[in-house]
Amino acid sequence: MAQHLNISRGTMFFVLLTAGILLQIADHDSTKALGYRFQQIAGPVLRIGRAIQPTTTLAQKDDPGKLISPSEYRKLQTRYDNLNAELLDLQQRYSKLAHIRTILPEPGPALVVADVIQTAISPTQRELILNISGQSQSVKPGQYVLGDDTIIGTISDVYSSRARVRLVTDSRHFLPAGILLEGARDYIPAQIGGAGDGTCKIPLLSRKDHDIQVGSAVFAMKRTGFLDTPILIGKVSSVQPDEKQPLLWDITVQPAGQVETLGSVAIVVMDLSDGSKPGRPEGKTP
């Protein structure tokens, strides 16, 4: 190739190397369009085999007397946890209303249902690509995403017809969270971050002040403009003293949502001030 142009191999190597360095130092937001375009064009081919990916399930005890399947049990448990959180929230709201009668209950959030077109799970990232054709006006970065009736992540990028969801297990992802111990009425406030290996971590909780138990539910907490009621993220799967800081807990959370096989998800849209009216889910449960 270069021989026809009478360029030596050494020169050609440095030309290619320089091109590589320029692309490396170029702004990521401008160069990532190339990869996004590839995923858009090759999307149908890349999606082959999505439905037959293996799913990782939580370890469950064998119980010969059980009447429902483990997946059904998990769904019911998730709904129970969310209902419990909603009940607590309603109780708190009721007690406030009892004192301040002028406060009216706020309308619930709207949901934008979007199809999952690609799952991007690798050692460096855990993301979903959604098809939001016709609904992109309502979708904004930071909005919470529901799947399997749990919070599975937040919107990180919005394009004209696609949106990128950063999953709660992604190592770059952090959210305000709350741990609800069994029988307790108050949440233990915390920050939850992705561990990058399919689980989440909750750092900086003191062993002296909090008696965290395995199996405790972890919720995404209310955030003004994003979420108006706590929704389940997952369950505490292990609690150990932190090796580096022995006065703190090292808490691992197993997300309740199974993102690998999700066909569609729901985006929580709280702010409808731009006049757009996202559709509510009708008969299509993410």
Binding site: A2, T31, G35, Q53, T119, D197, G198
Partner: protein, 175 residues
């Protein structure tokens, strides 16, 4: 090398590498998968002329960047291009006809390329691997196991691709 045919193979490998079906091959909680483009890069760097190996390495690097989930353009071009070119210069040291040496070469190249790639990704986007040692070692071992199979398939296409594979290493040349 017949470059249009090489591009066809490269597109097929991009789809293979980025496709969701590879989820079936993923192992561990980090979802480690074999890097088909890295294996192809080692194959072309070992079987083309030095110039062809250099162009092929940079092109495969660009393809790896485009088809990567984060679409971070740059890290793979630099790491694949540099190490692919270096491999093409030193390839006569090992006999690539034997499966064991193919696997070892892929393993060593993966050990060089993956950390470089992750460092460059971190430099560009700030995102890092949660467990780098397991991601690098796991990825290298997996690529070394799957590598000889893809190598065999690409060798069968060697004539169609117009590859002039280098003759086997002979000590007599250097005596």
């Amino acid at each position: 090398m017949k470059w249009p045919r090489f591009i066809l193979i490269l597109l097929a490998l991009m789809l293979l590498d980025a496709g969701q079906w590879t989820g079936m091959l993923a192992v561990g909680q980090q979802q480690i998968r074999p890097d088909f483009l890295l294996i192809a890069m080692v194959f072309f760097a070992s079987n083309g002329s030095t110039g062809e190996a250099m162009y092929a390495s940079f092109l495969i690097g660009l393809a790896a960047d485009i088809s990567s989930e984060g679409a971070v353009i740059g890290p793979c071009i630099l790491s694949f291009g540099t190490f692919g070119t270096l491999l093409s210069l030193v390839r006569r040291v090992v006999v690539m006809q034997r499966v064991i040496f193919q696997a070892i070469t892929i393993f060593v190249m993966a050990l060089l390329i993956l950390p470089t790639m992750y460092l460059l990704i971190r430099a560009k986007t700030g995102q890092s691997v949660s467990h780098p040692m397991s991601a690098i070692l796991g990825g290298a071992v997996y690529a070394a196991i799957v590598g000889p199979i893809l190598w065999k398939l690409l060798s069968m296409l060697g004539g169609w691709l117009g590859l002039h594979q280098p003759p086997p290493y002979s000590m007599r040349r250097y005596v």
